[in-house]
Amino acid sequence: MTTTTTAKKAGSLANWTDERLGASKGVKFLARKIFPDHWSFMLGEVALYSFIILLLTGVFLSLFYIPSAGHTVYDGVYAPLVNQQVSEAYASTVGISFDVRGGLLMRQIHHWAALVFVAAMTVHMFRVFFTGAFRKPRELNWVIGCVLVLLGIVEGFLGYSLPDDLLSGTGIRIASSIILAIPVVGSYLSFFLFGGEFPGESFIPRIYTIHVLLLPAIFLALIGAHLVMLVIQKHTQYPGPGRTNTNVVGYPLFPVYTAKAGGFFFIVFGVITLLSALVTINPIWAYGGYDPSPVTAGSQPDWYMGFMDGAVRLMTGWGEFTAFGFTWSFNILIPALLIPGLMTIPLILYPWIEQWATGDRREHHLLDRPRNVPTRTALGAMGITFYILLWISGGNDIMATVLRLSINDITLTLRVLIFILPPVVYIVTKRICLGMQRKDRDKVLHGRETAVIVRTESGEYFEVHEPLDEYKRWNLVQHETHEPLAELPSEDANGVRRPGAGSGWKRRLSKFYFEQRVEPVTPAELAAAHHDHHGHEAIEATSAHH
């Protein structure tokens, strides 16, 4: 066959489809879609590709896994388990590991991909947060993203529970205790979920259906919506010369971006497979089957649940009492339900919180440099610090073992740090951001320090500053800052309330956000600086608010 005949055939096939489906318009639209390029825009892709890997390996696992808590006697190839009473779920998972060809690798890929999946979603979320990509019109996609992270945690936890080994059974035990701690309805809820007393035989089949059917379907729908919105709203871009709020500078989806994305998919698959081939994850054969009486030292959940476990470990035993004939377990309720709730609600609502403070209803397609929004950046750093401290607390016993420290000292230290460190990080981050902005101003006004020292004839020394070129300068002056609403008059000259001036709370929040700020250099300032090259310090001092 020659090339021309192949091309003809392909062309007529395309024609045939187009005449029936009218696909060419859509293909053209998508193929010409422009995507800006930046490494941080690929974090979401890592999450997407690891999800695809989860789907593929998950289907493989479901061919061999038996979702049943029924009792059986293990009689496979793994000697230390032979003749032990285990559940069918456990026996089948050990079977996948040792009797199914490639099964152990598949299990390890599935589990490593799950850890990377949630981690990638998390850092993707951080990127969106710190660059302000959640601002109008993308608030809904922010909410979808938050829901995906939360569902990812749930999906992972259910998957982790499926093998019914000692560790995952302990995890379910803790989950059931948390449910029991809910006032009044806790016991009913627990009986409902477990179909009776813990552990019962209904739970494994139930979570299996949720894990392989319900949640993956919801994931597909939400990820689909997430991506469609991305296409409709266009991707944001980092500010730069020629990039405006109304254009997108980048490469077309086809062929450049498709090739890149395809290649990146294989990189993600490759890295996860390599990790799975080299490093053990969840050696359930060593944990043994679940039995409610034993526990192992170092019982931990997967990392994404670690912060909840940590919160429970940090909490004191204080808070449990009986009243009105019920036991109120605030020692569990506060760390296990209240704190995660208080962490997620502001997270989901954040776009509106910030909108309220700025009073800004415009669309934003240019991203922020994190330093230019110091309060948001500092809040984010504070939140991450709080989260990481909880996470560390979840590993307090491992730290004690590895570092040979007293677990009591570690826990006490973390109890103090959880109150002190986040505000400290907030203040320090904000200072760093403001400092960086001042440095940017300095660079724009006086140019880059060249480290060349010149001695004048009169014996004066000074360092030569090289002016920035226009492109670099643009990056440092393009942004705008908000002023606190309180600094604007709330009434106009006639004593009429100005729309958008805001209530007391709104003004206070706005003040919290924007009272400390560094304005970008204005053209007038720049002109003045160039004009009056040596006596520049005075200009700087008057323009920066502290």
Partner: protein, 261 residues
């Protein structure tokens, strides 16, 4: 022959027979007891030697008669097994005050010296003895049974793979890799520090041997899934997922991003 038969009823005959019987018995008895006496002498020597070693190395803390002091417990009735374990694993003499006696290697005493001190302490009061080679032979144990019993009785402190774990206030259940079968057995019967004593009623001697067989199999088993990350469970896995997994992927993303612009 007939003469002997004729004198059979001689009044002296009974007496002579009794005499012969007594002499034979006496000689046999002497032969037997002379061995025993020698053994008794050497056991006494061993206890004496053990006492000397004890006075020189241990009495500052445990008291001149092992009766205990303010900062160290009495050793009366702890048995030979406790001494063999504590000294044989390098815990005693305690090297440093702390939440728990640390293991110091190399062990400072020869096997004979340890046995002597053990004999001395055993002589102070009845306690668990050093197990026989048969008691602790991993080849005679049932690995599967051992894994079950270990998980139920030991994993909560020592972790599922015997990697150890943290207890309160800086105390810890030690990692069990490289511990000899004798010491594992002795740990169970003496319950060092925060560890409970597992008597023969709680875990039978056969089951103790099963545990030893299981622990041996854990050490010898290849890791089927690759590197085991110290068998610490999900915490190290999470760290690897972030640092190696996501770290590598972000590295690739940065590299791809840098290539394009």
């Amino acid at each position: 022959m007939t003469a002997l038969a004729a004198r059979r009823r001689h009044p002296l005959a009974t007496a002579i027979l009794v005499m012969i019987g007594l002499i034979v018995t006496g000689v046999l008895y002497a032969a037997a007891t002379s061995g025993k006496a020698a053994a008794a002498v050497s056991a006494a020597d061993e206890i004496e030697a053990g006492k000397k070693l004890f006075l020189a190395n241990c009495s500052t803390c445990h008291g001149l008669n092992a009766e205990g002091r303010r900062n160290a417990p009495s050793l009366v009735g702890v048995g030979a097994a406790a001494v063999d374990f504590q000294v044989g694993t390098g815990r005693m003499p305690m090297a440093a005050t702390g939440p728990q006696a640390p293991k110091v290697s190399p062990v400072r005493y020869t096997q004979d010296e340890i046995k002597a001190m053990a004999a001395y302490v055993a002589s102070l009061g009845p306690g668990p003895a050093i197990p026989s080679a048969e008691d602790v032979d991993p080849a005679k144990g049932d690995v599967a049974m051992g894994s079950l019993i270990f998980r139920t009785n030991c994993a909560m402190c020592h972790n599922f793979a015997g990697k150890g774990g943290a207890l309160t206030r800086g105390k810890y259940a030690a990692g069990l890799e490289g511990v000899t079968p004798e010491h594992i057995y002795e740990a169970m019967v003496t319950g060092p520090q925060s560890m409970p004593v597992f008597t023969d009623q709680t875990i039978s001697p056969e089951n103790k041997r099963d545990i030893i067989a299981f622990l041996q199999s854990v050490e010898e088993a290849p890791a089927p899934g690759g590197l085991s990350l110290g068998s610490f469970g999900p915490v190290t896995e999470g760290l690897v997922a972030w640092l190696a997994g996501l770290g590598l992927l972000v590295g690739c993303a940065v590299w791809l991003g840098a290539k394009s612009s």
